[in-house]
Subunit: 333 residues, 2 copies
C-alpha cells in the first residue's frame, strides 16, 4: 500500500496526454492529491495548487507520485534532482514507469539514507497463488474491450464512484499501473508471471459480502493478439457475474496492429460471454460502454441509441453521460 | 542452448512416474542420452547403461540433465554431492526443477570454480518482444487440449518424428521444461511475464520455408481457468495453420479443479478455432489425438472410431497407433 496523500510530480511533461496518471488521480481520488509540482518547460497543468516539496510536506503529503510518462524511457538528471530532494525531505516515491526507480543508484542511496520507500508499481511484490477456480462469495463485474485503451479503466472507476454515491458496496480493483497509483493498491497484471495471472486476480478479488461488487479493471482485449492471454486470465480469474462491453467506434484497426480489424460489439459478446461462463455459469453481459470522445454530442447520442436498439443493452458513454444506467443494470441482476 | 549429449540423472526417483523428463529424452532424443546415473534406492530404470560420472564423460557426455522430480522441492545433500562432483569433472548441469540450481550456493561455487554452466530451463533467459501479430512465412501446427496433461507434448513430438521420417521439414517447438530439456531449446512459457507471452511464441516460431512445419507444444487448456491465459497466448502468438485437438476420455473433472467438467471435443473445437482464426484466418482443425492409456485396445479402437465418425476428423492415439494419419492431414492442407 502506498501512503496517501500524494504530491503529483508532472516533471517536464510536454502536454496533458503525458500526464495521464496524474489526471487519473486528480479525477478519481482528488482527496489523495494535495498539489502538483512541475519542472521548467512543463506543458501539463492539472489545475491543482503548484507547490514546492516543502509546501507539500507541510500540507501533509506523504508520497511523491510520478504522474507523467518520461521521454525516451530515461529518468533525466533534472528529474533526479527533485526526486532525491524529495527523499531527503521525507517523501516516499511511487512510479509506474517502465524503467524502475530501484534501478537508479542515486535514488536507492537517498531512499536508504533517509529510510524512505521506492514503490515501483509495475513490479509485483506478492507471490500470487495458482488459481484454484473455487467459487467466491460477493459479486464481480469485469470490463472487456473490443480493443486495448477503449475506456475499460474509466468505466470501472465511474461505476465505482456512482455505486459509492448510491451507498452500494463496491471496490474498484486495479490491474494496471495507473489504476494502482490512483487507488494505492492492486495487481500489475501485465508484469505477473504467466502461471500466476489468474491466481493474482483471484487474490485481488477475494470472498466478500454477497451484496458487494468488485469492479475489476480490464486489460487488453480477447481480440488483441499481443495481450489476449492477459485478458483471458481476467475473464477466468475474475469469475465475473457481469460483463460490460467497452468500445471506441472510430478506430480503424486494433491498437498497434494495422492488419487487424476491430471486432464488433456482437463479436466481443459472443466470444467473451461463453468464456466467462466457464468460470461463472451465471455471468451475463449487462451493458455497453462507448468511448465517444471523437464524436460530436449529436453523433454520440445517435450512436449510443443505435447500439442500444441493436443489442438490447443499456449503452452509455460514462464520461459524457455518467455510469448511472450501467449501475442500474448491475443493481437489477 | 544446452550442450549435448547428456548423462541422465535419475537420483533417488521413487518410481518411473517421477522420471518423466528422463523418459522423454530417452524416447524422443535417444541420440542425446549416453547413459543414466542413479543413487541408492532409485526405483526408476530407463534401460540405458548405468554409468559413473567418469564413464559418461569418457563416452562424450557434456551435460548432466536432472531427469527426475525431486521430493519435497529440495535438492537433497545426496543429490548435491553428485552434482558438485559432476561440475568438478567438467559437466554442465541442466534442470527444470522449480527450485533453481542457481539458488544453491554450493552448485554456484562449483560451477564458477570449474567454468561450467547451470541451466535452469524454467527461467527465461531471453528478453522476449511484445507480439506484433505480423503474418509469418512457413506453417505452424498447435496442439490444444480439453484439459492439461492430455498428451499435447507427446502428440507434437510424435508428429515431428513422423515428419522427419518422411523427409518433411519440421521442428518441434518446446514451450515447457520437459520439452526444452528434450530438445535443448525452447520457451518456458509458464514462467514468461504476462505481456510477453504471445511475443515469446512469435520468437520461438519465426519465419521459415513455406513448406516447413513448426509443431508447437501446447500448454494448459482454454477451458482450464488456472492456465487458460497461457493457452490463449499460444493460440494467438503461434498463428497456427492447423490445430490438433487433444483429449483424455476417462477424466472425470479438470486436472486440479474438482468442480469443473472436462469439455467435449466439439466444445474445444468451437472455442479454439474461432480464436485461432483471429491470428490466422486460414486455420483449420485437422485431427484429434486421444490419450487412450486407460482404455483397453478394443475400447480404444471403438472410442477412436466413434470420435472419427462424430467429428469427421482423423482420430488417433499416436502412442498406440502412431501419428501417421495426423501427419497425412497436415500434408493434405
Amino acid at each position: 500500500m502506498i501512503e496517501t496523500p500524494y504530491l503529483l510530480f508532472l516533471g517536464d511533461a510536454p502536454d496533458m496526454l503525458a500526464a495521464k496518471v496524474a489526471i487519473g488521480i486528480r479525477d478519481w481520488r482528488p482527496e489523495h492529491a494535495v498539489g502538483q509540482i512541475s519542472l521548467p518547460g512543463c506543458g501539463a497543468d492539472l489545475g491543482l495548487t503548484e507547490m514546492t516539496l516543502q509546501e507539500a510536506l507541510d500540507a501533509g503529503a506523504k508520497t511523491l507520485v510520478i504522474g507523467v510518462a518520461n521521454r525516451g524511457g530515461l529518468i533525466s538528471p533534472a528529474w533526479k534532482e527533485v526526486l532525491v530532494k524529495a527523499l531527503e525531505l521525507g517523501f516516499d516515491i511511487a512510479s509506474g514507469l517502465h524503467n524502475l526507480l530501484r534501478d537508479e543508484a542515486e535514488l536507492v542511496a537517498a531512499a536508504q539514507a533517509n529510510g524512505r520507500t521506492l514503490h515501483d508499481v509495475r513490479v509485483p511484490t506478492v507471490n500470487y497463488p495458482i488459481a484454484n477456480g473455487v467459487k467466491r462469495s460477493g459479486k464481480r463485474c469485469l470490463a472487456v474491450g473490443t480493443d486495448c485503451s477503449v475506456g475499460k479503466m474509466y468505466t470501472a472507476l465511474a461505476m465505482d464512484k456512482e455505486m459509492q454515491a448510491r451507498g452500494m458496496k463496491s471496490s474498484f480493483r486495479a490491474t494496471g499501473q495507473t489504476g494502482i497509483l490512483i487507488t494505492g493498491d492492486g495487481v500489475p497484471l501485465d508484469a505477473v508471471i504467466a502461471d500466476f495471472m489468474a491466481g493474482s486476480i483471484e487474490y485481488l478479488t477475494p470472498d466478500n459480502d454477497e451484496d458487494h461488487w468488485d469492479l475489476i479493471e480490464g486489460q487488453g482485449s480477447l481480440f488483441h493478439v499481443s495481450y489476449s492471454g492477459v485478458t483471458m486470465a481476467l475473464v477466468h480469474g475474475g469469475q465475473p457475474d457481469a460483463l460490460i462491453l467497452c468500445h471506441e467506434p472510430t478506430r480503424s484497426h486494433m491498437r498497434g496492429l494495422p492488419d487487424y480489424d476491430v471486432p464488433t460489439l456482437e463479436e466481443l459478446r459472443d466470444v467473451a460471454l461463453p468464456l466467462a461462463q466457464r468460470a461463472n455459469k451465471a455471468c451475463q453481459v449487462v451493458g455497453v460502454s462507448v468511448n465517444t470522445q471523437h464524436l460530436s454530442e449529436e453523433e454520440a447520442v445517435a450512436y449510443l441509441k443505435e447500439v442500444e436498439d441493436r443489442m438490447g443493452l443499456p449503452a452509455v458513454d460514462p464520461y459524457r453521460h455518467g455510469a448511472g444506467r450501467l449501475v442500474d443494470a448491475l443493481a437489477a441482476l
